[in-house]
Amino acid sequence: MSTVAEERNARAPWALTAPALMLFVGVLLIPLAMTVMLSFHDWGQYKGIEPVFILKNWQEIATDPYYAEMFRRTFRIAILTTLLTALLGAPEAYILNRMSGRWKSFFLLVILGPLLISVVARTLGWALLFGGNNGLVNKLLMSLGVIRSPIPFMFTETGMVVALAHVMMPFMVLSVWAALQRLDPQIENAAMSLGAGPVTIIRRIIMPQIMPGVLSGAIIVFSLSASAFATPAIIGGRRLKVAATLAYDEFLNTLNWPLGAAVATLLLVALVLIVVGSNALIERRYAEVFR
C-alpha cells in the first residue's frame, strides 16, 4: 500500500509541472532547435531555403571579417554599457539605500522610469536631445559657443552605449540594492568605531560585500545589452549594425533565413558561455559573502 502511495507521490511533481514544462518545450525549446537546424540549411536568391545539411553559413561567418567586426562591436557596446551602469548604478543604489522613506520611494520610481517608457519614445528622446544639428543640447551648446559642430550621437557606438545604459540602469541599481539590503545595518558603525574613515569604510567594508550584487547586475546588463534590438536599431539603423539587428536584417530584408539563424545561434551560444562562465567564477570567488 505504501509503495503505491510513494509511487503516486513520486509522480506528483512531474504531473504538476507538466503544463508549464510543455509550454516551455513548445514555445522555447522547439523553436530554438529549429533555429539551430535552420542555420545549417542552404539558401539562394532564386531557390529560397533548401533543407540540406551544409556548413556554408557558418563558414561565411567564420571567414568574412564583416561578421567578426559585427560581433566585436556588439560585445564592445555590451561591455561599455555594463561598465557605465556599474560605475553609476552602484553609487546610485548606495545613496538610494541611505535615503529616508519618502524620498527613497520617489527616487526608486525615477530609477525605474526608463523601464516604464516605451523604447521608441525613450530612444527618440535621446535623438531629440543630441540628434545632429537640430538636437536641443547640440543647438544650445553651439549657440553658447562651447562646441563648433554637433556632438555626434546618432549612428555612433557612444550613442548606443548611452541609450542602452539609460535603460539598463534599473537592473544594476536593483541588483546592488538587493545586496545592500543584506548588509548589517550596524556594519558601518562597527567599522567607524574601529577607526575607519568614510573612504575606507566604502572600500574595505561596503564594496566587497556588494560586489556579488554588482557582478550579478553586470551579468544581467551585459546579456541584455548584447542581445538588445530596439535601441541599437533606432540609434544605429542600417549604418551601424550589431548582431541582433544583423540577424533581423538577414531574416526580414535579405530573406536569407539560414544565415540570420546562424548569427542568432552564435550570439546565443556566446552569451550562454560568457554568462555561465562568469557566474561560476563569481560564486567561487565570493563564496563567503553568498553563504
Binding site: D184, S193, A196, Q209, E288, R291
Partner: protein, 346 residues
C-alpha cells in the same frame, strides 16, 4: 576623578524626548549596566557615548576631555553590537586585525595581538574561519576580541548576549566578567535582562522612559529600590497597601493584620514592598490562604491570596515541612526587609 562622565545629557528626536537629564560618573575600571525595558533610552545613551548620535543637550567627558567634539572614528572606544556586525567577507583574524590596521600597527605586532585576543576569548585556532561559518556564541567572541584588541578606553556592549540561548548566555556572562576583571577595561553594558545586569555589574543604572530611576550596586537596587518601577523591574516583589496609624502610641504601620512600629517621616496611606524570599510563615501577621504551591528544586514558590491582595512567597527547601495548598497561613517579615513609600492615588 570620574573617568567617564555624562552631565545632564538629553536626546530629542523631533518633539520626542528619548533621554532626559542623564547624569552619571563612571570610575576607571568600573562595570556599569544600563538596565531598562525596551524604549527606555538605554541604547540611545550608549550610541551618544559611541558618537553615532549627538546629544541634544549636556556634555559627555572622558578623562575631562569633551568626547562629543571627537569624531566617532577617533574616540577609541570598543563596541560590541547586538547583531555583532562582523565583516562577513573577512576571516575571524582579519576582523580582529581591522582596528589595528586602522591604527597602523606593524604587521608582525598585529598578528601577535590578534592571536592573543582570539586566545583570550577562547577561539585559538579559529583564525581562518569566516563569521558565517561560526556559531552565534563564536561570532560573539570574535566581536568581543575585535573590540578589545584595540585596547579601548571604554568598552560598550549593546545587548551582546541577547541572541544566545540561555545556557550559553550564562557561560558568556561569567566569561565576560572574568575577562573584564583581568584586563580592567571600563565597561558599559546595555541590557533589558535584570539577571545579566546584576551578575555582571559593579553598578546598575535603572532607566525608564528616558530617565534614570536609580543608580546603585546590584544589591542596593534590589534591596532598597528607589521607586515602584525599580522594585518591580528587578525581580519579583510584593506590594501591599498599608497605612500609618498616628492614633496609636508609638505610631504604627498597619497592613491588614500585620503591624510594626512605623518608620519616621511618613504618614497616611503607604505602599509596603517586600521581596518574596523575605516573607516567612508565622503565628501572627498578614492573613493569607495558599492558592498554589510549586516545587522548584532548591526552593518552594507559594502563590497566596492575602488580606492585601495576591502575594508571592519563596521559601528555601530546607527539608522542613511546608504548608500545603488551601491552608490558611500568617505572613510575617522583619521590618528592615521591607521598603515603605508614600502611596499616591489608588
Amino acid at each position: 576623578m570620574a573617568y567617564l562622565e555624562l552631565d545632564r545629557v538629553a536626546k530629542q528626536f523631533g518633539a520626542q524626548t528619548v533621554v532626559d537629564d542623564f547624569s552619571l560618573a563612571v570610575g576607571k575600571g568600573e562595570f556599569i549596566s544600563f538596565l531598562g525595558p525596551s524604549g527606555c533610552g538605554k541604547t540611545t545613551t550608549l550610541q551618544m557615548i559611541a558618537g553615532f548620535l549627538d546629544p541634544t543637550r549636556g556634555a559627555i567627558r572622558l578623562e575631562d576631555k569633551d568626547l562629543t567634539a571627537i569624531h566617532p572614528a577617533k574616540r577609541g572606544l570598543g563596541i560590541v553590537f547586538q547583531s555583532y556586525a562582523l565583516f562577513p567577507h573577512m576571516t575571524a583574524a582579519e576582523n580582529v586585525a581591522f582596528g589595528l590596521e586602522m591604527r597602523n600597527v606593524p604587521r608582525a605586532d598585529r598578528a601577535e595581538r590578534v592571536r592573543a585576543a582570539l586566545a583570550m576569548v577562547g577561539l585559538a585556532g579559529y583564525e581562518d574561519r569566516h563569521p558565517r561559518r561560526m556559531s552565534g556564541g563564536q561570532q560573539q567572541r570574535v566581536a568581543l576580541a575585535r573590540a578589545l584588541v584595540i585596547k579601548p578606553s571604554v568598552l560598550l556592549l549593546d545587548e551582546p548576549l541577547s541572541n544566545l540561548d540561555a545556557k550559553l548566555r550564562e557561560e558568556m556572562q561569567i566569561e565576560l566578567r572574568q575577562i573584564q576583571r583581568t584586563i580592567g577595561t571600563t565597561t558599559i553594558l546595555v541590557t533589558h535582562d535584570q539577571n545579566e545586569a546584576m551578575s555582571l555589574s559593579d553598578r546598575i543604572v535603572v532607566m525608564s522612559q528616558g530617565r534614570i530611576e536609580q543608580i546603585g550596586t546590584p544589591q542596593e537596587t534590589y534591596e532598597k529600590p528607589a521607586s515602584a518601577f525599580v522594585s518591580q523591574f528587578l525581580g519579583k516583589t510584593n506590594d501591599f497597601a498599608g497605612t500609618i496609624d498616628r492614633t496609636a502610641t508609638p505610631v504604627r504601620l498597619v497592613a491588614g493584620s500585620w503591624s510594626a512600629p512605623a518608620p519616621a517621616g511618613l504618614s497616611g496611606p503607604v505602599t509596603v514592598s517586600i521581596r518574596p524570599e523575605r516573607i516567612g510563615f508565622g503565628d501572627a501577621g498578614l492573613g493569607a490562604k495558599i492558592l498554589t504551591r510549586i516545587f522548584q528544586g532548591n526552593h518552594w514558590l507559594f502563590q497566596c491570596d492575602s488580606e492585601c491582595g495576591p502575594a508571592i512567597v519563596i521559601r528555601q527547601n530546607d527539608g522542613k515541612p511546608q504548608p500545603t495548598e488551601g491552608e490558611a497561613v500568617r505572613l510575617t517579615w522583619r521590618p528592615e526587609d521591607m521598603s515603605v513609600r508614600a502611596r499616591t492615588g489608588g
